[in-house]
C-alpha cells in the first residue's frame, strides 16, 4: 500500500519498476474521436495554448483513479479543458454551454 507521501511524490503516471503482469500485445485502429482529439492537442501545442508539458501535467493532476479509468485520449480531452480554463483562455461556463449545444445538435441529428 502506498503511503500518503508516495501518493504525492509518485503520481499514477510514473510507472518505471513497479510490479505489473504480462504485456498483452494489444492494439486497435484509432477511432474518429481519438484522431480528432490527438490532432486537436497537437494544434494546441503548436500554438502554445496547451503545450505538451501542460497537457502531461494536466493528465497527472487528474489523480490515480481517473487516470486508471479513463482511456488515453479521454484523459487528454479533460486535461486540455482544465489547462485552458486555468489559463483563462476559455471559461467553464462557456465550455459547459457549448457542450450542451453540441449534445443537442448530435441528439437531433441522430433522431
Amino acid at each position: 500500500m502506498a503511503t500518503k507521501r508516495d501518493m504525492v511524490v509518485r503520481p499514477a503516471h510514473d510507472l518505471g519498476g513497479l510490479p505489473a503482469g504480462p504485456v498483452v500485445p494489444s492494439d486497435h485502429e484509432m477511432t474518429p474521436f481519438e484522431k480528432s482529439c490527438h490532432a486537436l492537442l497537437n494544434v494546441l501545442a503548436e500554438h502554445k495554448l496547451v503545450n505538451t508539458e501542460e497537457k502531461r501535467r494536466g493528465v497527472e493532476d487528474l489523480g490515480a483513479q481517473i487516470i486508471g479509468e479513463l482511456t488515453y485520449y479521454e484523459r487528454w480531452a479533460v486535461s486540455a479543458s482544465r489547462v485552458l480554463i486555468e489559463k483563462g483562455v476559455i471559461t467553464s461556463e462557456e465550455l459547459g454551454a457549448r457542450m450542451n449545444e453540441i449534445r443537442a445538435r448530435l441528439t437531433e441529428a441522430a433522431a
Partner: protein
C-alpha cells in the same frame, strides 16, 4: 558552449521529492551513473508545465546507469544498462570518482 558535466563523468541524480511536474522518474532518483552524451539545451519542462514557454533553457544529458545500481536484485548480466535523459539541475558530481574509465 561549456557544460557543467562532460561525457564519461560520474554523476548522481538528485533525490528530491517535492510536488510538481518533473521528468525525472522516481526509480532513478538518488542513483549514480555516467554521462553518456551531452545534449542541447531545452526549455525546462518543470516551468513549461505551468505555461512558461521561454527563457528557461537548461542543458540536457543522457545518463547511463548500470541495472545492478538501480535494482539490487537484478538478475541479468552485469553489463546491462539503462539510459535516460536528465536535466542539469537534477545532476550532482558523484563523490570520489575519476572521470575516466568504463
Amino acid at each position: 558552449m561549456s557544460t557543467r558535466f562532460v561525457e564519461g563523468q560520474r554523476v548522481r541524480i538528485a533525490d528530491r521529492d517535492a510536488p510538481g511536474h518533473v521528468r525525472t522518474p522516481v526509480y532513478v532518483r538518488g542513483k549514480e551513473g555516467r554521462i553518456e552524451r551531452v545534449l542541447p539545451r531545452f526549455l525546462n519542462p518543470e516551468r513549461e508545465a505551468y505555461g512558461v514557454n521561454e527563457g528557461t533553457d537548461v542543458r540536457l544529458y543522457r545518463v547511463r546507469i548500470e541495472q545492478s545500481a538501480l535494482w539490487p536484485d537484478y538478475d541479468g548480466p552485469a553489463d546491462d544498462v539503462l539510459e535516460l535523459e536528465i536535466y542539469e539541475h537534477w545532476l550532482e558530481p558523484a563523490d570520489h570518482s575519476p572521470t575516466e574509465g568504463a
